[in-house]
Point group: C2
């Protein structure tokens, strides 16, 4: 059996393809069939006078998503999608698809999400998820090539993450377990083994948010580097993000075209990225009339304002201590702040990375845990990392769906994960 | 700052390394320090007459897992681990590690697992987890190079998996959600979009098992291919497993040496692998005196007996329907059986893959769901895949920890995952 991706190797031959019908049309003596086999799209041409009547009649009955085996001669045709056309010599219907729910008309997004298992077949969805897959492989390749060791962090944890109150909980043989919100704390433990480590996997937030940037289950990559400070951490981030964007531009051109993405803005994404401190960001916002006050975290609106006239990703660094997680290192130059950064991207996509140098001082870390009302016992092992050979280290987390939403230009993250989990959506 | 992995580029230079003390010894006038910086191990030599007294005295105080910055001249030395030696010119202690819990003596496994966050630093653990990371990258590379599209399956699901009764459950905004036992059903939905797909991630079984092959949280890769039958499925599996083993042999030689793995047996792992049917397997077992009866699944003991005199992985295919999951396709040649395979590996490691052709007939699938007492409503979307353009397809799941245990020769899977989750273990 041939595949559409390999048609260029079969020009002049008679091949058999199997796949799903995307659409059909007929003109009395000539009819067309657009076939999708998962590796590509091919236009198949049926000439009535050259085919058995049964084949011609079967074509007339085809509906979208029927499965057919098509035999035909492969011809080069620059006008055809994919550059080839199949001159059909035989066709067999392998499966029907009467009343296929998704029709070529406008459906509401709830309807489409209810039929996510079928919506995946649509061209926009295919393109978006192919970019996601490319981004994921690019992430692994970038880190592997730089000697990072992948360290899978646990999902089931006894300790709470950084946002208590938004945890999914489960009974674990009589104990209480929580679904991890981050793998960072765990992989910090692997730095003394491998120096450069990362985890990649699903993370969970039981947040009652209904914004276009929130999922209850989302994927993150979290690199962590021993002996790296906050400055090196940002340099790694800008190289990482630039590499990911470049890979998508290089290898997903067709998909970005299907998505009608204006790629000129992505082509600007090259290191270094500009940096401003949180304090500078607040001053800039205030000078534009914002009422933001020094001390509170920046929200989506603030981020939008900051990025309104910027074309490149922007680091905002050194946030106030009280606005950030307990594990971030106090800034020696200004102890009201911590050595951290958020990476904001243009075009309204906001934050895709949060990073920081980690607090490596045992006493200060214990204080922060107490201040935030977290149970020290759950973090005993994490404190051990500061007791036994503590070391400066930094890392960050990049959200896969937000990054892919930005690269693809899709409005809502829910289309960039195969089966989105939202506050009101657990099906399919 | 230099790194040990790059010492060969610095021969004859004075470099500064930072890392953790693995061990020290002294001989009056000359002392040694083995340094681990996460990228490698280097022997550092201190000559009393050539160093400030403070450095010499500091060396005497060092204990394992202290963090030091060592400056010194890089010399080639074939006898030294890594092939280089550092002639120390200066040393600074950056962090202490008094009373480091893991000492160079025998600890019980419970003690070590309680200190997993520190145990990761030990040479055997580093080696095992580095092989794991290599295997994971090899998996992604193999599939990416063959045009598989990665499709991340959800962890939180409303549907139950294949083993009801061993599910972790959580409250999902008032609904009941379960942690996925497999991503297969979901990625089947993506076959009509991409033909070849796979998911890679953690899966969960709330099983009260305490064997050396069970974890409550373990990682799986699950490839799925449209229009592939059971025979092609097994061919993909043997190529996949052979590639993974080859990559580990090629790129993890040092680690396998640390683990004292006899690699001669792994070098035999090349496709094709022998195949026997379940019925033949039962006959073989019976001929050896086993009381196994046709109809029940093979257990670890049966698998051990089958593999006792085999050096190559072995496919056992076409198990009885009642012993296998509802989604496996009925065998047209013998409807008492399904088109499936388990891949058993030698040396006592048992099953590392379970695969099957999937039932693509709507009515037969509904029957199987009813027979097994599963709630059809939860599978409505899965049945849709048979309603709208159904297609033959096959796939399999490979367990990461079992595969890595086999490759590394480790007895228990719990050492091949960074933070194992066992029935009685949720910490650290």
């Amino acid at each position: 059996m041939a595949e559409i991706r390999q048609l260029s190797q079969h020009v002049g031959e008679n091949v058999t393809l199997r796949g799903w019908v995307e659409g059909t049309r007929g003109h009395g003596k000539v009819a067309f069939l657009v076939l999708r086999d998962g590796t590509g799209i091919a236009q198949c041409v049926l000439v009535k006078s050259q085919l058995p009547e049964s084949v011609w009649d079967a074509h007339a009955e085809l509906t979208p998503e029927c499965v057919v085996a098509v035999s035909g001669d492969v011809r080069e045709d620059a006008r055809a999608p994919g550059g080839h056309e199949i001159g059909v010599t035989h066709m067999e219907v392998l499966a029907t698809a009467a009343d296929y729910p998704i029709q070529p008309k406008e459906h509401g997004v709830d309807f489409l999400l209810d039929h996510r298992h079928l919506w995946l077949r649509s061209s926009q969805q295919r393109a978006g998820l192919r970019v996601r897959a490319e981004v994921e492989q690019a992430i692994h390749d970038f880190l592997y090539d730089r000697d990072f060791v992948r360290v899978d962090a646990p999902i089931l944890t006894g300790a709470v993450g950084e946002h208590a109150g938004t945890l999914f909980e489960t009974d674990y043989f009589g104990e209480r377990a929580y679904l991890a919100q981050t793998g960072q704390l765990y992989i910090e433990a692997a730095c003394p083994a491998f120096r450069r480590v990362y985890c990649f996997g699903p993370t969970f937030r039981a947040e009652k948010s209904k914004t276009r940037r929130h999922l209850t289950e989302f994927w993150m990559v979290e690199p962590e580097v021993a002996f790296a400070d906050s400055d090196e951490n940002m340099r790694l981030q800008e190289e990482f993000v630039s590499y990911i964007v470049e890979r998508a531009l290089e290898r997903c051109g067709d998909d970005l075209e299907v998505l009608e993405r204006d790629t000129s803005k992505l082509e600007l994404v090259k290191p270094p990225f500009p940096r401003i401190s949180y304090t500078e960001a607040v001053e800039e916002l205030q000078s534009r009339g914002s009422e933001v006050e020094w001390g509170r975290d920046l929200g989506a609106t603030d981020e939008g304002d900051l990025m309104a006239e910027r074309d490149l990703p922007l680091f905002v660094h050194d946030y106030p201590k009280q606005a950030k997680a307990f594990y971030m290192k106090e800034n020696p130059a200004d102890p009201r702040t911590v050595l951290c950064d958020d990476l904001l991207v243009p075009e309204g996509y906001g934050e895709v990375i949060g990073g920081s140098q980690r607090e490596d001082d045992l006493d200060r870390l214990r204080e922060r845990i107490a201040e935030q009302g977290l149970p020290e016992a759950a973090y005993a092992w994490y404190l051990d990392l500061r007791r036994f050979g503590t070391f400066p280290h930094s890392g960050f987390g990049l959200g896969i769906e937000r990054t892919v939403a930005w690269i693809t230009g899709k409005h809502h993250v829910r289309e960039l994960i195969p089966f989105p989990r939202l506050m009101n959506r657990l099906y399919p």
